[in-house]
């Protein structure tokens, strides 16, 4: 053990660690920044303030907000259900909540095409009411919700289970209503995991590519998210523009990481 604490070994391991992180993490991120400004500030600013970019931001932010709201409502109620009650099929429910984690993004897109596409189950229903799902914004929202599905529930369930039900039972015995228990007793205890889960869901929703790529029709201004815009610009030989748009995503990523660190400290 002392051997591993000696100076030379420590420095060797440290250098190795930094080298690895430098090559696989720092350089790619640095490259995004360098390439984004390679054709000058003017190109950068024009790109990130162009209508197409702004529309992509709109769509991405909308999809993220929808996922966040869904995650909040679903995550908290699933955690409430699983932590506070006993019912048959609880393990199955747990497994189903985790399912979207273990699925490739491409498959996530595929299942929505199979469900809502022209040959899909629900196609007759939605075409009858003239609502377009796939290759339209609703599919982007649905897949984003799908890939972020378990985040809040996963963070909150263990915290609630560890906390136990006694406080809530006591409150119920004292005649408290659902909302009184939720807001005064339970919510203060799960604020941190809820926030943590939402941060993770935000990150995933902002950056999701594979699943969205499957269900988006790639229509500029309509179904192009930021990630897809990066890909489109890249395919357009507009590399510096692609990296410029990527900096928006990179910026939000760094914000998310800092937020997460902050939450962990509290």
């Amino acid at each position: 053990m002392q051997l591993l604490q000696t100076k030379p070994i420590k420095w060797l391991l440290l250098v190795l660690a930094w080298l690895f992180i430098g090559i696989v993490l720092v350089l790619p991120v640095g490259l995004v920044l360098v390439q984004a400004f390679a054709s000058g500030w003017h190109t950068y600013l024009t790109t990130i303030s162009s209508l197409v970019t702004l529309q992509a931001i709109n769509l991405t932010v909308t999809a993220t907000l929808i996922s966040i709201v869904f995650n909040l409502v679903f995550g908290v109620s699933a955690a409430w259900l699983i932590a506070f009650y006993d019912f048959p099929g609880k393990r199955l429910l747990n497994a189903l909540i985790d399912l979207p984690f273990s699925v490739s993004p491409v498959i996530a897109g595929l299942i929505f095409i199979l469900t809502f596409g022209r040959g899909g189950w629900l196609a007759p229903l939605f075409s009858a009411i003239h609502v377009q799902i796939v290759f339209a914004p609703p599919a982007i929202f649905l897949t984003t919700v799908f890939v972020t599905f378990p985040f809040v529930a996963r963070e909150v369930i263990p915290v609630l289970e560890a906390k136990g039900r006694e406080e809530e039972q006591t409150a119920a015995l004292l005649g408290a209503s659902f909302s009184q228990i939720l807001w005064q007793i339970t919510f203060p205890a799960i604020k941190a995991p809820v926030a943590g889960g939402l941060v993770l869901a935000t990150a995933r929703a902002l950056g999701e590519f594979g699943a969205v790529a499957v269900v988006s029709g790639n229509i500029q201004g309509k179904t192009l998210t930021l990630s897809l815009l990066v890909q489109n610009l890249y395919n357009d030989f507009k590399f510096n523009e692609a990296f410029a748009v990527a900096t928006i995503l990179l910026g939000s990523t760094i914000l998310v990481v800092l937020l997460k660190q902050r939450l962990l400290k509290n």
Partner: protein, 350 residues
């Protein structure tokens, strides 16, 4: 809990400021994007196109907006979607609400027609088989042409690494494949020899991307391979982006690539956009639009315009899809590209 109260207000203020700035900018861009004057609501058209037409349609859309407003007083905004031609056709079949489709090859539009979204006579509704501009397949090599590639047989040299998209997934790439087939057939007059020729050619392919744009990126930006087998317009675009770095080699025989266009009848009927969609396609044949096509490296079908740009587009022997050698798309699709077809036979084994 996480922030002190006073800091909260600061953050909220900055956040609101950013949001305000964003909304302002967004409104500004929206206003800029809208056609300048005139009243009445804006009609939106969605044009689902393939990879290589981005630059062309960006220019054409502006021209059409002005033209249409002058003609009808109506404002029109065109949203464009780009991607692999076959994939784009699928999204339309699956419900992508395209008013017009401008794809790389007729069968992709035919598959939309087979799904019942447009009428069977779509190819007769516009001149030149509903292909307002054409192109052909050429070789793009690195400056100085180090491998000395002059014509098709040079591609079979062992040291040559070809980059080209996959004809199974990319419509555009079918033209590439057929160009090679056309050359070999015309040269050797034997299906078997043509088959061997093309097999050898595809054995030299190092990167088989899914779309034509992916292949171009792989070759030009990422430095893979010695030669890119691609459309003339795509090759010219690369030369324009990277002046002095690449050379275009025009082979002796190639194919006449005919990207097809059509109005999607069921969508325009539902969205009530038939008139403007038809005008959008019809206007592609105007002199102005033909010039824009030529400027974006597509060969115009209008003879006068073609004459004016003839220096840009070297003459070569062009085989069409309706040549007896191929006998039209229906036959070609079945013979070459169906599962277990010739392409699978020569490439499937690796």
């Amino acid at each position: 809990m996480y922030w002190q109260k006073s800091k909260w207000w600061w953050r909220l203020g900055i956040g609101l400021l950013l949001l305000g700035a964003y909304i302002g900018l967004y409104q500004l861009r929206l206003a800029q994007a809208a056609p300048t004057s005139g009243s009445g609501a804006t009609v939106t058209l969605t044009n689902v196109s393939y990879d290589s037409t981005r630059e062309f349609y960006q220019a054409y859309n502006q021209n059409f907006q002005k033209y249409w407003q002058r003609k009808s007083g109506e404002k029109v905004a065109v949203a464009i979607s780009n991607g692999g031609s076959g994939k784009q056709a699928n999204t339309v079949i699956e419900g992508n609400q395209a008013d017009v489709v401008t794809l790389a090859l007729a069968p992709d539009i035919t598959s939309i027609q087979q799904a019942g979204l447009l009428k069977a006579n779509w190819q007769q509704r516009y001149p030149d088989n509903a292909a307002p501009y054409t192109s052909t397949v050429v070789f793009l090599v690195r400056k100085g042409n180090p491998q000395q590639i002059r014509d098709w047989p040079d591609l079979l040299k062992p040291a040559v690494n070809i980059v080209t998209p996959n004809p199974k997934t990319s419509g555009g790439a079918r033209w590439n494949y057929l160009a090679a087939w056309a050359y070999a057939s015309k040269k050797y007059h034997s299906t078997e020899k043509a088959r061997q020729f093309v097999r050898k050619l595809y054995q030299n392919v190092t990167v088989l991307d899914s779309g034509s744009r992916d292949a171009t990126t792989t070759f030009a930006e990422n430095g893979q391979g010695n030669v890119l087998l691609t459309w003339e317009n795509e090759a010219k675009l690369v030369c324009q982006q990277h002046p002095g770095e690449y050379e275009i080699i025009t082979p002796s025989i190639s194919i006449k690539a005919e990207p097809s266009v059509a109005v999607v009848d069921s969508v325009v009927a539902q969205r009530n956009t038939a008139t403007v969609a038809q005008a959008y396609i019809q206007h592609l044949y105007s002199v102005k639009a033909q010039k824009i096509a030529a400027q974006n490296f597509y060969r115009p079908t209008n003879q006068k315009v073609a004459q004016a740009y003839r220096k840009e587009f070297p003459a070569l022997q062009l085989v069409t899809i309706n040549d007896p050698l191929f006998g039209g798309w229906a036959k070609v699709q079945k013979q070459h590209f169906a599962n277990g077809g010739i392409f699978d036979q020569i490439y499937g084994g690796g």
